[in-house]
């Protein structure tokens, strides 16, 4: 559906492809490299067609060598290019953590500000499609813990395009963490290039007496929970941080000052997850406004199981979120 302003309703995956296409068109220093991103168009299909349009100099397949791929990004960015590199599954960052943590993240600081690393790393997180323990994780808190990296996690088609464009335009290393279960989610996306500014949360649903902070694939679950809770008379505000590092503490704090209760939801394992950091910041900045302990919903402390029966228990959903909100509200009650 096209509108007069050039906004259409397209899937998340198409928004990603469109962003990549526009970025490649815009700047000859941008290139796209990763495992099977060219000939095959990525195993998720989000780079399909780009090789044909831009040719093998700018869109190319790499060997299965994650550390080399990140090295390619670091070295070429340090020499003036603007690489977009793809790490197929987020789980694979275990293969390249040195280049990420010790090189990419620190080079600018270690060199006294003389290096600039405009490199974007796209990767795919998330469980729920029976890919088991090594192809399903959400490891964003690893990255958020490392000074020098920026991390975004788009939860809508609009943000997928806008955050990806902002990430590539940024002169710092930025991780763009997509979610494989969101690729088909439809959303309104403008045709033209636009940026969703890094470090700005979005109030996905305005509310007055409870705050849910939900990242990535947990956003639609939180929205569904909010609908359920609304019928019970609870007016829930849902915030999508969009950027996890740097984190928009202000938007979340302002919301909690208004609602006095909060729950943080992410798909990653709860222990040591980003929710712990957000909860800690809230109690530091808004302790006097809180009427109840801050809740956290995340995956249990186990690897992601394969069996659909177990995986269903593993991944947080609207029902769990609803139950946790009700528990907190009851406690506050």
């Amino acid at each position: 559906m096209s509108t007069a302003t050039g906004t259409r309703t397209i899937p998340y995956i198409a928004a990603c492809t469109e962003a990549l296409r526009q970025l490649l068109r815009e700047d000859p220093d941008v290139f796209l490299a990763g495992e099977d991103v060219a000939g095959y168009g990525s195993v998720f299909g989000y780079t399909r067609g780009l090789l044909k349009e831009f040719g093998p100099k700018r869109v190319f397949d790499t060997p299965i060598s994650e550390e080399g791929i990140v090295g390619l990004g670091v070295g070429s960015a340090a020499c003036g290019l603007r690489p977009i590199i793809d790490i197929m599954f987020m789980d694979f960052i275990g293969e390249c953590m040195d280049e990420i943590v010790n090189q990419m993240a620190k080079m600018r600081y270690m060199f006294g500000g003389k290096a600039k690393l405009p490199v974007t790393v796209c990767t795919m997180a998330g469980a729920g499609i029976n890919l088991a323990a090594q192809h399903s994780q959400s490891l964003e808190s690893w990255l958020c813990h490392v000074p020098g990296l920026k991390v975004v996690m788009p939860a809508t088609a609009y943000d997928a395009k806008g955050l990806l464009i902002a990430a590539v335009h940024d002169d710092n290393p930025v991780f763009v963490i997509f979610n494989k279960r969101m690729l088909g989610v439809m959303g309104e996306v403008p045709e033209e290039m636009y940026e969703v500014p890094l470090g700005q949360a979005r109030i996905a649903r305005a509310g007055t007496n409870f705050t849910i902070v939900a990242t990535g694939r947990m956003l639609p679950e939180a929205m569904e929970a909010a609908d359920t809770l609304a019928s019970g008379g609870l007016d829930v505000e849902v915030i999508d941080p969009r950027t996890l590092q740097p984190f928009d503490t202000e938007t979340v704090v302002n919301s909690v000052k208004k609602t006095h209760r909060a729950l943080v939801v992410h798909e990653a394992v709860r222990f040591g997850g980003l929710g712990a950091e957000i909860a800690a910041q809230l109690q530091e900045e808004a302790f006097d406004y809180l009427d109840a302990p801050i809740g956290r919903v995340g995956a249990p402390f186990s690897p992601v199981p394969f069996s659909p029966a177990l995986e269903k228990l593993y991944v947080p959903d609207a029902a769990k979120i609803t139950a946790e909100v009700q528990r907190i509200v009851g406690k506050a009650g």
Binding site: V74, G75, D98, F111
Partner: protein, 324 residues
């Protein structure tokens, strides 16, 4: 090969600059005038100098934890280097990198590196950028025999060969991975043998002979500039000092005889002997290079020691690039 006299003297001067810089740096460390630990390049001067005489500021290198020599040979400024070792604001990295992260992006020196074998993937990326921009530049990754056992080296070598990148994988084989002798850390003695497995040429060169390194590196670099792809060049060399500092931690892991045998082939003495015999320079002319370099080093140390420490606000500066 016809090597112009100016190039021979340049080669010599770079080696002397490394030697003098490192001797003075070693003294600073062992007298605790500077913080932290240093990995000194003494003994390996022919390698960095022989390679760098073939490069320009537009060519990139990645270095190692033993990185001062590479920066000196690439044209590094003594004052900024010593100031960095002292952790001062006037240092190359504003005092925030130190010995193991010393770098000069303007000279194409993409950093010493505290992580063994982290350099080859970065140099591979730099070589990719050179090829992408068609600028005729090359990248050189310096690494050791120990680093050649890391997966990062393997990934970088394979990618460079697959894509025919203008990369030189320059192995400084000094016979030890930290304190472990080569025979106990790899089954091949010539790291260059591994080139076959990557589909690139590999060659071994005497790393104590500056002219041999200069010639061999020159050929590999010229090949890369012609677009013919990467080369694995292995220089057999030796560190005259310990892994860390001059005397190290006093733990014996190699024999005095071995050290003495290698010291007989001091690369600077070897070159000076050749230059004087060939009538390229007189002993007095060569000695003058040592003297003026020593004076420059002492002057730079004075500058460094008198320089201020970084201000507290430097702590959080440059974690990220911020648009002005």
């Amino acid at each position: 090969m016809d090597i112009p006299k100016a190039k021979l003297l340049d080669l010599h001067e770079r080696m002397v600059r490394i030697r003098v810089f490192e001797e003075e740096a070693g003294k600073l460390m062992e007298s605790a005038r500077i913080p932290g630990a240093l990995h000194l390049y003494v003994g390996e001067e022919a390698v960095a100098s022989g390679v760098m005489c073939n490069l320009t500021d537009e060519d990139q290198i990645t270095s190692t934890h033993r990185g001062h020599g590479h920066l000196v040979a690439k044209g590094g400024d003594f004052k900024k280097m010593y100031a960095e070792l002292f952790g001062r604001a006037t240092g190359y990295c504003n005092g925030k990198g130190g010995s193991m992260h010393i770098s000069d992006m303007d000279l194409g020196m993409l950093g010493a590196n505290g992580i063994v074998s982290a350099g080859p993937p970065i140099a591979m990326g730099a070589a990719f950028a050179d090829k992408y921009k068609e600028n005729g530049s090359v990248a050189v990754a310096f690494f050791g025999d120990g680093a050649s056992n890391e997966g990062a080296f393997h990934e970088a070598a394979n990618m460079a060969a697959t894509w025919k990148l203008p990369l030189i994988l320059l192995c400084e084989n000094n016979g030890y991975g930290e304190f472990t002798p080569q025979a106990r850390h790899q089954a091949v003695k010539d790291v260059a043998d591994r080139a076959i497995g990557y589909g690139m040429p590999g060659a071994v060169v005497d790393g104590m002979d500056a002219i041999a390194v200069y010639e061999a590196a020159g050929e590999a670099i010229a090949r890369a500039r012609r677009g013919e792809g990467p080369t694995l060049l292995e220089c057999k060399t030796y560190r005259f000092y310990d892994h860390v500092g001059i005397r190290g931690m006093g733990v014996s892991y190699r024999t005095d005889d071995e050290v003495l045998e290698w010291r007989k082939r001091d690369p600077i003495q070897l070159l000076e002997q050749r230059l004087t015999e060939a009538g390229v320079a007189t002993t007095a002319e060569l000695a003058a290079v040592h003297e003026r370099t020593r004076a420059e080093a002492l002057d730079a140390i004075k500058f460094a020691e008198e320089s201020p420490f970084p201000e507290p606000d430097e702590l959080l500066r440059d974690v990220y690039y911020v648009k002005a």
